[in-house]
């Protein structure tokens, strides 16, 4: 079981953050186009190869995580990313501007540590 990648979008569709861990193939489109595809109209789905998990707040913040098929419902994980990481480290820091890509290294490293600590994340893919 593993996590492939994670997106964080705001209410205007601006991609605030993207990280990847075990992503086997790059899509054949540019990163910007890929962000656009990701944010429109998905709730949750899985294909034969991966599962997409989606979490949206009333303020329009969207957390999108792609994992392999072995991962069950993880709403609490996505909520934790929003509440304990994004809100605590970015929103509450008045020096972090909103509405643009998060520059905070603390956010990036805490998020990375959190994902790696998840029970369904394995250091080796598949």
């Amino acid at each position: 079981m593993t996590v492939h990648n994670l997106y964080l979008f705001d209410r205007n569709g601006v991609c605030l953050h993207y990280s990847e861990w075990h992503r086997k193939k790059q899509a054949g489109i540019s990163k910007e186009e890929e962000y656009k595809l990701m944010k429109d109209g998905f709730l949750a789905f899985q294909t034969s190869r991966y599962k997409l998990h989606y979490y949206e707040t009333p303020t329009g913040i969207k957390v999108v995580m792609n994992t392999d098929l072995g991962v069950g419902p993880i709403r609490d994980v996505l909520h934790h990313i929003y509440s304990a990481l994004y809100v605590e480290l970015v929103v509450k820091n008045p020096l972090c501007p909103l509405g643009q890509t998060v520059q905070s290294e603390l956010f990036r490293s805490r998020l990375d540590s959190y994902i790696r600590s998840l029970p369904f994340f394995s250091a080796r893919a598949g």
């Binding site: 209410r11 205007n12 569709g13 707040t57 009333p58 303020t59 329009g60 913040i61 909520h79 934790h80 929003y82 509440s83 304990a84 994004y86 809100v87 605590e88 929103v91 509450k92 008045p94 909103l98 805490r110 540590s113 959190y114 790696r116 600590s117």
Partner: protein, 181 residues
Amino acid sequence: MSRPAHRRPEYQKINKDLFVLTYGALVAQLCKDYEKDEDVNKYLDKMGYGIGTRLVEDFLARSCVRRCHSYSEIIDIIAQVAFKMYLGITPSVTCNNSSRNEFSLILDKNPLVEFVEELPPGRSSLCYCNLLCGIIRGALEMVHLAADVTFLQDRLKGDSVTEIGITFLKKLDEKKYRRKK
């Protein structure tokens, strides 16, 4: 690999007096910076707006409220959950019109004015707690609700109660934000 501590953030209590005095210092400084009450009120509202746009995320993260289906549900949540969470008080709610988009919050207690007896001379139009109006307005806007928020009555001005009026305007179109790109 060391296991990171992803415990829930601790909400340490700080001294309420420090908070109340800090707010008073803020208002006092704005009074020194601006002669007209309208300007002080305007800047308090503006600062509150900036706070509200961020505070709403903290509120949603901590309270896990469900989506609301009416303005009166939203007002109830503001009064019974948000005010309680941030100021430790629960204003009562009234609806002011039949179309159910105008409401009032009646503040029986207000910690922000604990050390203030009356407005200073020459400041009779000052809305001392106008930061609260900006906070509510900014928070509502982030959930796509436009509202006018003002003090309708103020004990500091000699009224019998302190009343915040919230009038919901037309719902902000979510799609408008995408079109702007």
